[in-house]
Amino acid sequence: MVNRNLLDLVMVVEIALLALAVGVFFAHGVWLFVTQKQFLRDVTVARESLNRLLTRGTINLEDIDTLRQVPRDAQVTAFLEASRNLTGAGKERLRFVAGEVSLLDRARKLCVSGLWTRRLRGARVLARMDVADPLIETLLADPNPAVRAQAAEWAATHPAPSVISIMLTMLADPATQARFAVQDALLRMGATAADPLASFLETHSGLPAESGLRVAESLAEPRFLPAALRHSASEEVGVRTAAANLLGAIGGPAAAERLVALLKDPDSLVRAAAAHGLGRMQHWPAAAQLAECLRDSAWRVRRDAGLALRAIGAPGALFLRRALKGNDPFAADMSQQVLDLPAAAAG
């Protein structure tokens, strides 16, 4: 029924596969056991040398030599560990030592490698050591999003005009990972990035504008007002919503006037953002318009209008109480819920 040779062949193949798997599994175990122990010893040696080099006033050449002799992986681990806890002069000293043991040169070589994984590794070392190197700036245009994101993380601490300019163009990066890193880096740059961002927002639209408006909202500087006003008339819902949020964060009569107009926007997300913004500004002259929004067909708009009225204070509370007795059951229900809220939950 079954050829004996076939059976033998299958059996031999399976035994070979199993033996191979077992061999590799246990051999890898032995290899791990040996290398991990050695790695821990090497890292300990590197940490101790590095610690002495960083804490003593003078550079001890013996320690530098010791560090040079430590295998690369252990060296990188020790330096990256130390980099987390150092800033200013301490970090400067760490960079000096890293340069002396050729860690930075190796990282630079990795950055120009043809393999993205190596470029990522190199960028990680240079970024964590805060090295101001034009090489890493070039990685902002890397084809791999993970490398671009890593370079953007580095850029947060190196806000040169050329870097900011590239970062702004990356607000339209198709990869979410890179876009997130860019937005975060621009936020960390703070005021330095505000002017270029404001100029950028005045000339761009679509996804880059939406990403930029999110950053601008967190910075909440008045210089973004012209851009926010312009984008509040955008055809894209996401952009209008982001602009409304930014207007609410900036405040002022012009922003309030525009937000009141946005309460009539065709999209409920924009109307809700406008109501929220007016509440954030505690703009009491808009109480009547916000009270109108209590009758909105979208729950979200009704909620944000109710909360905004509450945030406004006495004039808002007056409209909420009036809505309780009105003929719209949805407005009355939302008013009741808002008035029932404890103080802490009203924000």
């Binding site: 059996m11 199993l18 599994f25 890898h28 994984t117 990869a175 975060d184 729950w299 809220l341 939950a345």
Partner: protein
């Protein structure tokens, strides 16, 4: 009469060959999955080497996560469980405990130990659920919300949690799940990498036998308990080469109910969890996937190979049998509900490859395996099938499977190597060998029983008895 006997013997032989070809096909496909998972694992390990997550931890742009933790009669363990959840390392975290009509002191314990005060809040009830009795916030933990509602089951409790959640992402978890301290940071990665991700799942490991302190794994160990030990190997295989392999091929449709992260808006728009199924977690994921094709909306289901959570597995045959029976009923129910996707080009890879795989390899496997074993026994007794064929059958059905499992152990060892001692390696390999000697055949029986119950419309959960850890852990556990 002789003609009939001849016909029967021919049919017996042919059916054996068919079963043999089936196993050969399945194991060949597993080999493809193994290779795919090797490539995926390599890419993942290269991405995370020397990775720093401080950007995520300190950024105001990180997405907010709401953990939904349903609890039913968990008065004795809820405090420890909740403290472990509140200590998770994630910057923008909200923990929502939903007491699903607990009849014990669960709510009182929570109120006393976490300084809870009754509050009112505005929430939109976009999914129909059982009524909410009261809502509490903690005066000492601003991120904690406790909802006390009428009993309606786990799916209902999760749906209530969805209404109260304010996070962009929601994390659904199970009673016996221990989440790693940085588990959420790892799970959130795919949402940052792509805009079309609606859900992520991570690798769930077996906690039995490991050392647990304050709701965290201190030392991962392989248990010496046979039933739990074999499940350690089973879980490794399911996650490390099953789901990881499918991840690269774009065919993930399962996220463990023990720990999964979802985009809240997508789940709410899809209608939340279904009440009338025992496979509510798989059902939700498949529905999200299906809707993504029908509405041309985002629908990527991502898998993170990092070990992010640990779960307690049954150590008694009775409880394990009930669990597997329920899982198989759930699978059958979900595949039946979405049968329209089967071989339907409208649903792309999912309809043409993944769905048929789940039907022919996951759902019908116990039927085919049972038929194969039965006809093999009949053939051997009657002398129609010789021992060589029987040996070939066992080598194809079980031998190849064991070899593939052994390669999965290598995959774990070269990536995360959480089982680090030679004792654990020896045990892992031992349990991999033992799996085929009785355990696998028992699972065939349980899964057949599940299919039978499904055909008779049974939708009960059965009672899951937990042995518990040294220190209290997971929250959930609803009826």
């Amino acid at each position: 009469m002789e003609a009939v006997l001849l016909l029967v013997s021919q049919m017996l032989v042919k059916s054996q060959f068919l079963v043999l070809v089936y196993f050969l096909g399945v194991n060949s496909w597993y080999l493809v999955l193994l290779l795919s998972s090797l490539l995926e694992m390599r890419r993942h390990m290269l991405l995370i080497t020397d990775e720093s997550r401080h950007l995520l931890l300190s950024s105001t742009l990180s997405p907010t996560i709401s953990i939904l933790a349903p609890a039913f009669n968990e008065a004795s363990t809820i405090e420890g469980s909740l403290r472990a959840l509140l200590a998770l390392q994630y910057p923008r975290l909200e923990v929502i405990v939903i007491s699903d009509g607990s009849k014990d002191e669960t709510v009182r314990v929570l109120v006393e130990r976490f300084d809870l005060v009754p509050v009112k809040t505005i929430y939109e009830r976009r999914i129909n659920t059982k009524p909410v009795r009261s809502l509490y916030r903690s005066a000492t933990y601003p991120s904690l919300v406790v909802v006390d509602k009428e009993n309606g089951g786990k799916a209902d409790a999760l749906n209530v949690g969805l209404s109260f959640a304010r996070g962009e992402l929601v994390c659904a978890m199970d009673a016996d799940t221990l989440i790693e301290g940085d588990g959420l940071q790892r799970m959130v990665r795919p949402f940052l990498y792509a805009t079309d991700v609606v859900a992520t799942g991570g690798t769930i490991r077996v906690v039995n036998g490991s050392e647990v302190k304050f709701g965290r794994i201190v030392q991962a160990r392989v248990t010496t308990h046979a039933l739990a030990g074999i499940q350690v190997v089973e879980y490794l295989r399911a996650f490390l080469f099953g789901r990881l392999g499918w991840n690269r091929l774009g065919g993930n449709i399962i996220i463990s109910g023990a720990f999964g992260l979802f985009r809240r808006e997508s789940v709410v728009n899809a209608g939340g969890y279904l009440h009338d199924t025992v496979g509510e977690d798989m059902e939700l994921v498949l529905r999200l996937k299906r809707l993504s094709y029908e509405q041309d909306s985002p629908g990527t289901i991502a898998f993170v190979p990092d070990p992010v959570a640990w779960t307690e597995v049954p150590e008694s045959i009775r409880v394990l049998g009930r669990q597997r029976d329920r899982w198989h009923r759930g699978l059958a129910d979900v595949l039946w509900r979405h049968r329209r996707m089967m071989l339907n080009p409208r649903y792309g890879v999912t309809g043409l490859f993944v769905f048929p795989y789940y039907v022919f390899v996951e759902l019908l496997a116990p039927l085919i395996e049972a038929a194969g074993l039965l006809t093999l026994a009949l053939g051997l007794i009657s002398g129609i099938i010789d021992w060589r064929f029987a040996a070939l059958f066992c080598l194809t059905a079980y031998g190849l499977g064991t070899a593939l499992t052994a390669f999965t152990l290598i995959l774990e060892d070269i990536s995360f190597h959480r089982y680090n001692t030679f004792r654990d390696r020896g045990l892992l390999f031992w349990w991999a060998l033992m799996e085929n000697l009785g355990y696998r055949q028992m699972t065939v029986y349980w899964r057949l029983r599940g299919l039978w119950k499904f055909l008779h419309g049974r939708k009960d959960w059965g009672v899951m008895e937990r042995k518990g850890f040294q220190k209290p852990v997971g929250v959930v556990g609803t009826n």
